[in-house]
Symmetry: D2
Subunit: 349 residues, 4 copies
């Protein structure tokens, strides 16, 4: 452990908190030394505070940690937040005021103009907002967020198309139940069924996409002009959000050039060799019945986004399928990659 950066988890007993612990269990740079949760869990060992619900084994070292209340004070400088949105806003602000670097998966601060909403392959440069954030808010700490899980799978596939002028996107999602947390979606609602709405998800996809693809400025982000229309559904899949996207572009480089752009796409994580970075952020699949959640969600440890079936759309321009692991690339892994970016950019110093 010696030499590793100590990290804390806000909301350690929840679904995302468990995912953080799983994601960090063998991390070369970070080590979990502090767990924060609600009053109900505080004072217990993590083992006693919550049943573990992931196939990955819970590290004994973490199981032995005492859970504390989610107030700043004893937590390490770097904290990951998997807090529920009902409390994340205030708690994360309190930690930032107290000097912590909060890397959050919660939605509360995502659309704050001075909070970077980052997918490291796409808009690593948005971290430059942190200076203005610190100044304007008077925080000695920082808050950095990652997008909603559905947004990430879409924006990753859009990023290599940005050079051709993104104008319009219509996207339909088929989302896994793990995105709803625990207990989350009732089995009576989803076994052998489809629910044609993931509450709150459509506006997030429509606005977050514009911010992430936008231009960071002195006092916020100039949103990208792309117009996004999202329709969301829940399907009986455990992990892996599948999305059917149709895009209108300013210029038409041809189908092959689009596929090549996806295949060759890389970003800061690949250039900097971040530990959680997949070799290629997008795995383009040639088979016409891929990607599939069961076969492809775990690709590159769940950090790759798999794309396939790019073909002309007679209405808008081109359409394709994008799919990725919603609790890894879409949540805990996204935040860990953000933290790795913060480290190489010196924000953790």
């Amino acid at each position: 452990m010696s030499g590793k950066i100590e990290v804390g988890i806000l909301g350690a007993t929840g679904t995302v908190g468990q995912e953080f612990i799983a994601q960090l269990r063998n991390h070369p740079w970070f080590t979990v030394t502090w767990l924060g949760a609600s009053e109900r869990s505080a004072g217990k060992t993590y083992r006693d505070a919550t049943p573990w619900r992931l196939p990955v084994q819970r590290p004994d070292r973490v199981a032995d940690l005492m859970v504390e209340r989610v107030t700043p004070g004893h937590a390490p400088k770097l904290v990951f937040s998997g807090l529920d949105a009902s409390v994340a806003g205030d708690v994360e602000t309190a930690f930032a005021q107290a000097g912590h670097v909060v890397v959050s998966n919660a939605r509360n601060h995502r659309m704050d103009p001075l909070v970077p909403l980052v997918i490291p392959e796409v808009n690593a440069d948005h971290l430059e907002l942190l200076g203005a954030q610190s100044e304007a808010r008077g925080w000695s700490g920082r808050i950095v967020t990652n997008p909603n899980c559905s947004t990430i799978m879409l924006v990753m596939a859009l990023a290599p198309l940005r050079q051709f002028g993104l104008r319009q996107v219509i996207v339909s999602t088929l989302q896994a139940v793990s995105g709803g947390g625990y207990p989350g979606v009732a089995s009576l609602d989803i076994v052998g069924n489809v629910v044609p709405l993931v509450r709150g998800e459509e506006p997030k996809m429509e606005t977050e996409t514009k911010k992430i693809l936008g231009q960071a400025t002195q006092d916020g982000v100039e949103p990208h002009p792309v117009v996004v229309s999202a329709s969301t559904t829940r399907v009986p899949v455990i992990n892996g959000h599948t999305e059917l996207a149709t895009v209108a572009l300013e210029t038409d480089p041809g189908q092959d050039a689009l596929v090549t752009a996806m295949r060759e796409f890389v970003g800061r994580p690949q250039e900097a060799g971040l530990p959680s970075a997949p070799p290629r952020p997008i795995v383009y699949m040639d088979e016409d019945d891929r990607p599939q959640p069961r076969l492809d969600a775990d690709r590159d440890g769940g950090m790759a986004v798999c794309v396939g079936r790019l073909r002309p759309c007679p209405v808008l321009g081109y359409k394709f399928v994008t799919m990725g692991h919603n609790t890894v690339r879409g949540a805990a892994g996204a935040a860990v990659l953000n933290a790795e970016l913060l480290k190489v950019d010196g924000v953790l110093d």
Copy 2:
């Protein structure tokens, strides 16, 4: 039984054939008296020829029928075809030549310019093609087809919007496994998974829609100018295709007027009181998480198409969810309703 019209089933041992038998088991006008299937089944009782795979009980009277080969001769004038596409083309032609009225669910003749492709609520007037069909082909019989199951759920929802000028449609499907027949989709491909392609389905939706909504003329159908872009997926649902549709219209009557148009939509089956007609072809649902296959696919005996979530789409105009029972309204029930229409239109005389 006396007084009922005798009907035959082509492809009686297959999935669609079984659905025909189920759909017709208590029909007030039709009674199944003849079953045709492949060489392998011919000469056996229906009971021995195939295991019954529907929750509905197989009528004993039908179980006792001897299965014959699918050649014209002894079959009644009216035959329903649930034949596999690999043989349906030639067999159905042979029956039409021999004087039978073939009401087919197979895809082979659907795009034939002189074969009506009919959803009775939408384009009952296309039956007028039958005169030209008879003349041009020299058949003493007729062939009438119903659309692909995915097309039906879409076109039913588009029909009431036709008055506002349909320009463009982008649709994503989440299709049930019963659409793939038996054995059909392998369980390893679909349990807890999504397959982002239903092979052959997208072109069908894109072309059949234009024909159904088009204008019947002397020598065929002038296709409707609407441009359709379809993306199809298979999901682990037994019955009920869910579709997420976005439409661009010539004029914008406002969201309420569109919902009203859907609620008030009726067609020939409702006006003529056809036995299989649902009271309203479209059941518009106000709850924002409906329609759902498990709760709504059986609505009105599986003959209603359920629509919900009609709302503005920032890209094209409006978007909504449409869902219906793929083996009832989308296959066997669709064909039976076509046959009922043929009867009241005098085609069976």
Copy 3:
């Protein structure tokens, strides 16, 4: 409606309450005129008090009823109880004291020596306990219960074997998620998974079976000497509990005689022609891969118990599969059948 017996539902907004309303929607003898639920729902129309979660349409007449608190007073004499076990004990007692006939699906009073635990085909004679119940408790009303859903599928199949001397039963269950109520089992726990425990269910099966098959006496029920060992699991099925049972009998009449006993088994409901009675309580299926929940749970409106695969067991004697609809024959339908029995036995007079 005129002439029908008015009935109330205790716990009308819960899962079992909804099932009661569905089960009674076209009942020839009973009509729902009163709905009781918790403080939270009281004072609202039923339509506003709870979302309806069944594929069967909610009757408009019931949707318009005002929900009242679950206290005696205005309710009709006959009330069905779908109350949660956390409150059912006291509330049902209060109703019985106030003169109501409480037909309960809750577990609280099932093992009370003076409360009949009834499957009408099996132990209709246990109603004779009601005299002692009234006398000992001083109630002007009555409480009658039906067994746990898993117990019913087992005991129905054991009943025709009773004549051969039931000694031992080992049973494994594969239970549907609807048995867990709503929201009940979390989708993360059950999609593509098995949970090898249905909490609290094994002791119920082991004790209720002995009471139902036992001998009613002056002051209770002499339990049947059969020893039952149950292992329970939850599987991703919506409706229909499947159970694998092995039995040791005192005498061995041979496999054919056992099958015949099951096929020919009838009880009071069949003899009295009760409206909810299936023609035969047990549908014995010859196919070696039946019964199956998807194909067979709705048999005879969900009131038949389907049995198959009866064959020798090299350890105990014989083994077989039994399966039935857990929310119909195993819950709401069971209670309605009990009420029908009470009516023909004069208990409702």
Copy 4:
């Protein structure tokens, strides 16, 4: 690769063949250099011969191999057989005659008195049959088999109880669809359903168990006297067979002693440090709702068998739940572990 033992795969394009390739992709001792399949695939690269259907990436090196016909000649000495039972018997015999060591997952030779049916933790000593096998059959090669996937999960849990005198076992299985191969179980049969029979499985469990636990002698295996009664079902789970077992023992050491025996159980693979051996063959879980396929099937790379809920059974003695990964510990991993045992025992020299 240099220094590794070259191995071939008989039936390389099938489901089990793919699993062998996955299981061997990073093996420290073995390297796949030869692939055999049917006429239809022979002459193609493995990449072109079959679509890859596992989440694990197919090694490029294997994808480039040419597929040959399954005839001896060019194959390495050690071959794994994932052949279908319809051809495995003759082909495996031909390979053994030609001097190959055939490590087979097929059922054909399992009950041959001179073919070891081996779970290395349980009956590694049965390899001593190989001398008699060679002599009696005149083969220069050998055939060694592993049991049916359902048998393995049961026998592994029975092995530590053998010391207390196994008398009777009643077992119910809930089997995953991957056990049925590809395409295998139809999705219409299993989505939201249970099939109460896995054809052919029950006799295998009842006879293989007795052979594996039996005593190897000069001319075969003296079967263990335990009597096994199996009831099998298929459930909508991808990987992981769950089994509910009840056992009668000669002596009763008490519940704690049985749990301890399971926890402390080890065998030859652990003692010899075989590469595929799990640290403990049985992972005993204290939580009362475990093991579960989704959470536990991948434990120790899928090679551990997870057991839980050991408790008294009022009929036989004790009951418990056992669960393991059917295509790893129950098939390909089982055979690889057998091959590792053969190597340390000198059979591959």
